[in-house]
């Protein structure tokens, strides 16, 4: 059974002329970490909304093709059935926070599933710990900064103990250290907890290094899908679809052009450092090491 299986999916929002998703076929395995890259209007948010049935149940439009989440067709089952399977985190944390305290916010989901009190307490602490927000239990979510709000929103999704986490540009409002923290949370979820993750992004910088797969989207269409290295090695291709390429892949591509080679391929700062020390800075006459 796949975590997600889209077959020839098209979706058009009510009142819109264009297909927000246009003949997209995509399979996500359990435990896989897939980053969907595309600019505004590429269809990546629409794809997120399909994963727990918000499309077509809450958002109207014309849906064609088949969408299955953990083997169940979303169009035929109620949204509630997917609530414990799929946690969704949106771009704007304010659109999903509404409680008086951080703790209530994170406890809200499991409370509504009638999870026993002790276990709720445990889940709240676990989720807050994972997102680095322990100790904020009694703070009002609205007194928090944008980045902190987003972490609370993620904790609220995690407290449902979903099997798959879907995040639509979760780092949108975070500062650089907040971003780094968030991606290390996501990496932990993948590596230590085996969580299936679908991450929609327009910036390829952080997720590049640890995604199992990158999906490129433009104008509702899937342009490609594969491991990070081949998918990200051409910065111009990414820029053409409105995605910020990782800076180190730009360095690699500029070096390849200047030195008439194709041997450079970097996904992380560490890789770039190693590659440059091995083949550029050491070849220097009388090079100092």
């Amino acid at each position: 059974m796949k975590a997600l299986e889209l077959r020839d999916v098209r979706f058009k929002y009510k009142g819109s002329e264009n297909w927000a998703l246009d003949r997209v076929s995509l399979e996500v395995e359990k435990g896989e970490f897939v980053t969907v890259l595309g600019c505004n209007g590429s269809g990546k948010s629409t794809l997120c909304l399909l994963t727990n049935g918000l499309i077509p149940h809450a958002i109207q439009g014309d849906l064609q093709g088949s969408v299955e989440v953990f083997g169940k067709k979303v169009a035929e089952r109620p949204v509630a059935e997917f609530a414990t399977k799929v946690g969704i985190v949106f771009q704007e944390p304010e659109s999903q926070l509404f409680c008086m305290s951080v703790e209530e916010e994170v406890a809200f989901g499991p409370e509504n599933l009638a999870v026993p009190r002790d276990e709720i307490k445990e889940r709240v602490e676990w989720a807050l710990e994972l997102v680095g927000m322990r100790g904020y239990n009694s703070r009002s979510p609205f007194s928090l900064s944008g980045g902190q709000k987003q972490r609370v929103a993620i904790a609220a999704a995690l407290s449902m103990r979903p099997e798959m986490l879907v995040l639509d540009e979760p780092a949108y409002a975070l500062d650089p250290v907040g971003r780094t923290g968030l991606y290390s949370v996501l990496r932990d979820l993948k590596e230590k907890h085996g969580m299936t993750v679908i991450l929609a992004e327009r910036d390829a910088e952080e997720a590049a290094a640890f995604s199992d797969r990158i999906v490129l989207m433009k104008d509702g269409k899937m342009l490609g899908s594969g491991p990070a290295r081949p998918m990200l090695s051409d910065p111009d291709r990414l820029r053409n679809i409105g995605v910020r390429p990782p800076q180190v892949t730009e360095v690699a591509s500029l070096l390849n052009a200047r030195m008439r080679t194709s041997k450079f391929s970097f996904l992380t700062v560490e890789e770039a450092e190693r590659g440059i020390l091995e083949s550029i800075l050491t070849s220097r006459k009388g090079g100092k090491r």
Binding site: C39, N40, G41, Q91, E92, S140, S143, L144, S145, G146, G147, Q148, E169, Y172, A173, L174, D175, P176, V177, G178, T180, R202, E205, R239, G242, V243, R244, P246, Q247, V248, E250, V251, L254, L255, R258, M259, V269, A272, E273, I276, L277, I280, L281, T282, S283, R284, K285, G287, K288, R289
Partner: protein, 285 residues
């Protein structure tokens, strides 16, 4: 001790804060005594992590928030003695989320709303609206409903509606957040032009790539305090300051730092700069 611009003559300052403190209802203190002077025509980036106080600071500069103690002086008078409407003619503030300020049914109405409410004559209003629409390249969108636009366009509308009030200072809160790389470049280019025409620009951001490419002066905030006030390169060469303020240099700057002992300058901010240096250092060998 923070190096600051206390030597600036009074008449060159458009904004000046002294021992500015602000505490939110409920007791969270967001600003801990700031002394800051901003000159006419400056292009300043205020950077800092989430929760560092940069948005609170911005809101005190245009009078949306009044200091809990200390003063904010705008054009020679404390904000506590000025009405928000009067201040709006001097200091314009574009919110981080443009949807917090858009409500009209057409772009033109949206842009017109501010100057109309400030009591300008119809002719003046028309002139200011046209200038703002031109400045943000919205001519083709003037009759469209703002909320039906894409985020990058909505951001330009929200900035145009602030420009239309013809303030001397423009404060932009995270203007590039959520924009594509192309949209972001266009917006920054238009802001540069406005600065060239004499507007003072205050950019609140944590996008260090934007800071590296545009600002002339950078103020770093952490925990409600200013921890650095310096020119742009100065900030990037100081990783400790960046770390303290939840900021990180762009990845190429980090890479350059790692390669510094091999003769690479640690303050490069773009892939091109780094590659040029690498070619000089050893690429030919």
């Amino acid at each position: 001790m923070i190096p600051s611009a206390h030597g600036i003559p009074q008449e060159e300052k458009i904004i000046s804060t002294r021992n500015l403190k602000f505490t939110y209802e409920g007791g969270v203190q967001a600003l801990h005594g700031l002394n800051l002077d901003i000159r006419h025509g400056d292009y300043v980036a205020i950077v800092g992590g989430n929760g560092s106080g940069k948005t609170t600071l911005a809101k005190t500069l245009n009078g949306l928030l009044k200091p809990t103690s200390g003063t904010v002086v705008v054009n020679g008078r404390p904000t506590s003695e000025q009405k928000v409407a009067a201040l709006a003619k001097v200091v314009g503030y574009a919110f981080q989320n443009p949807d917090h300020q858009l409500f009209c049914s057409s772009v033109e109405d949206e842009v017109r709303f501010g100057p109309q409410n400030l009591g300008y004559s119809e002719q003046e209003v028309r002139q200011k609206v046209e200038r703002a629409i031109e400045a943000m390249n919205l001519d083709k969108l003037r009759s469209v409903a703002p909320l039906s636009l894409r985020l990058g366009e909505r951001r330009r509308v929200s900035i145009a509606s602030v420009i239309a009030m013809d303030p001397q200072v423009l404060i932009l809160d995270e203007p590039t957040t959520g924009l594509d790389s192309g949209e972001s470049l266009e917006l920054m280019d238009r802001l540069k032009r406005l600065n060239g025409e004499g507007k003072t620009i205050i950019l609140i951001t944590h996008d260090m790539k934007v800071v590296a490419e545009h600002a002339r002066r950078v103020i770093v905030m952490a925990n409600g305090r200013m921890i650095l006030d310096s020119d742009c390169r100065g900030v990037f060469s100081d990783l400790a300051i960046l770390g303290e303020s939840s900021l990180e240099p762009p990845p190429v700057t980090k890479l350059a730092h790692r390669l510094a002992k091999h003769g690479i300058s640690p303050d490069v901010v773009s892939a091109e700069e780094l590659v040029v240096q690498l070619m000089k250092s050893g690429g030919g060998g």
